[in-house]
Amino acid sequence: MAALLDIDRLALDLAGATDAAPLVEDFSLRLEPGEVVGLVGETGAGKSLSMRAAAGLLPAAIRSVAGTVGFRGTSVEAADTKGLRARLGHGICLLLQNGRGALNPFLRVQDQVSRILGYQGVPRRERASRAATLLEAVGLPSAEFGARYPHQLSGGQAQRVAMVIALATNPALLIADEPTTALDVTTERDVIGLLGRLCAERALGLILITHNLGLVARICRRVVIMHAGHIVEAGPTAEIFAAPRHPYTRALMAAVPDLETGRLPSPLEGTVPLRSEFGRGCRFLARCPLAQPRCRAAVPALEGEGRQVRCFFPLTAAARPGAALAAV
């Protein structure tokens, strides 16, 4: 069976760049129908940018320099913006951080949804009932919420309406970019839970872009971790969080405050390198406590089947500090 989404060796760079230091390099991601994948990294890791590129929505300052994006068996060059955009609303849909921003402030909730259904060719007399069904599915009874305007909704409710609008296009793949960052934890739990459930019910593929590792642990079977434009580790969420193999993954996990122990998180030193700071070697070099001379000379390849890691000296399962060094 063909993969739902198959991004192959995507590379992105500044539109006017003459030197080759791609912002995103060697980005490959395969998603089976109904699969839920988390895409994680700090600000500047290139996670949003990569997915925007796959949807043909790059900002003018950035262009795709290599790679292809396959969707349901048809492959399109990553540079073919028109070809990529044609898929938006026809199988691929985006869900953004600010739910209210995605809604027209002058339209009642039910009219927003009906309008999208209209674009999808749903006959006029069926639209109202279809809209009501969809709203019901996200826990917003149409009788109570259908007649409200966006400003009369809370942040969580607005995000749910945005979700309905995404679902109204009957997509096979949803790309959600930090959909709950602006919400309270309690609301976040509801929205993320709903998202996970809807995907399972409708066999909807989901890419959840987030900086919150806990959310990934909650609903994503698989996780992809990015740092400075490189995928550094990818694989089953449970396995990676149980025993991370890339030093970055480990450091990112250690930076999350732990509610059980109340331990002070251990900070990950430094910041994501800027494009001008990319060297010939591993882009995590400057922040890595385990860096070796070899890491300076070349970028390690993303290696492995099922569980992939981009590191010359991956941490072994017995994650004793320095164990990786001893093996050299």
């Binding site: 700090e42 600000t43 809370s154 969580g156 409710q157 309270d184 934890v185 309690t186 609301t187 976040e188 739990r189 993320i192 900086h211 919150n212 590792l213 806990g214 959310l215 642990a217 909650r218 969080f241 149980a242 450091a251 990112l252 996990m253 250690a254 930076a255 999350v256 405050p257 732990d258 509610l259 109340g262 331990r263 002070l264 998180p265 251990s266 900070p267 990950l268 030193e269 910041t271």
Partner: protein
């Protein structure tokens, strides 16, 4: 030892009662003490009134009722000169790094303001003091010559903290200082706060919606809901074995890396003033454990020393229906 900050009966209410008997936004009847060099966390959803409380303490908002005593002196009783001194003693760091700095000023000039206004160092000593402060918040001196748009979010937040510290305060109100930052930067800032406190003996009032952040930095915590403190006490007690349904729901909602709670406790709906009657427990419309007595506002019960809970389910003397359920809930 006398607390550095003592708040009692503090209320700041927005809007006028409309006769419907509904609760008004703001904060209602808040009281607590903050010791010198201590950190108290204030946690709650947006709309819980925690920011309003912080702004009242920082002097940016005038309370409608109640008393704020700083170093045993009541703010209301002060003359203008004393108020100005107090200004320096209580500082605030804002949530949004994008609006916290004057876009037309270099970081160094912005931070130098309080040094000059309060006459804290001589002009000659200014540069050295700025360098020292920069070191304290983990910035290099060259960052001081940059404009806000040339700094990253984390760096801007450090400049904001640096300005507060430049005033040589006794108390700093930190209003969601890390919620706009990446986890990696958040961890750096949290560690830095601990170091600064050890070095300067400043007391922090850490406002956050993230219980895990509060847990790792604060010693005591106030949990707020719709303007009222619903639970308070040492973090291990309040966040380790919560007694209030709201605290429990807040904790169970936090996403975890490994192992979610098997049977998470949930509230229904969103935080909203819409259906809340002024004299009832504010959580009543959302609480699955609500019963008859919840139509009146519960007093603060004290199940353990220093641990206070505003919930009828925690009433040790409750003879009537529901008490058994409370015990089940508390032991869960």
């Amino acid at each position: 030892m006398a607390p550095i900050l003592s708040v009692s009966g503090l209320s700041r209410i927005f809007g006028r009662p409309d006769g419907s008997g509904r609760l008004l936004p703001g904060c209602h009847d808040i009281g607590f003490d903050l010791a010198a060099g201590e950190t108290i966390g204030i946690v709650g959803e947006s709309g819980s009134g925690k920011t309003t409380l912080g702004r009242c303490i920082a002097g940016l908002e005038r309370p409608d009722a109640g008393e704020i005593r700083v170093a045993s002196m009541s703010i209301a009783a002060m003359d203008a000169a004393a108020r100005r001194r107090l200004r320096r003693t209580v500082q605030i760091v804002f949530q949004n790094p994008e609006t916290a700095l004057n876009p037309h000023m270099t970081a160094g000039r912005f931070v130098a303001e309080p040094l000059r206004n309060f006459g804290l160092v001589s002009r000659a000593g200014e540069r050295a003091r700025l360098a020292e402060l920069a070191g304290m918040v983990g910035l290099r001196t060259e960052h001081l010559d940059r404009y806000p748009h040339q700094l990253s979010g984390g760096q801007k937040q450090r400049v904001g903290l640096m300005r507060a510290l430049a005033c040589e305060p006794e108390i700093v109100v930190l209003d969601e200082p890390t919620s706009a930052l990446d986890v990696s930067v958040q961890a750096q800032v949290l560690v830095m706060l601990r170091e600064i406190q050890a070095r300067t003996g400043v007391a922090f009032l850490l406002i956050s919606h993230d219980v895990a952040v509060i847990r790792s930095v604060a010693r005591r915590v106030l949990v707020m809901y719709l303007g009222r403190v619903v639970e308070s006490g040492p973090v291990e007690a309040v966040l380790g074995s919560p007694r209030h349904p709201y605290t429990r729901a807040l904790i169970d909602a936090v996403p975890r890396l490994r192992g979610e709670p098997a049977d998470p406790f949930r509230l229904s709906g969103d935080i909203s003033l819409r259906e809340v009657a002024a004299e009832s427990c504010p959580l009543r419309p959302r609480c699955p454990l609500a019963f008859q007595r919840c139509t009146t506002l519960p007093p603060a019960f004290e199940p353990a020393r220093g641990h206070a809970v505003r919930c009828w389910r925690s009433d040790p003397a409750a003879p009537e229906e529901g008490a058994g359920m409370a015990r089940d809930f508390c032991s869960a």
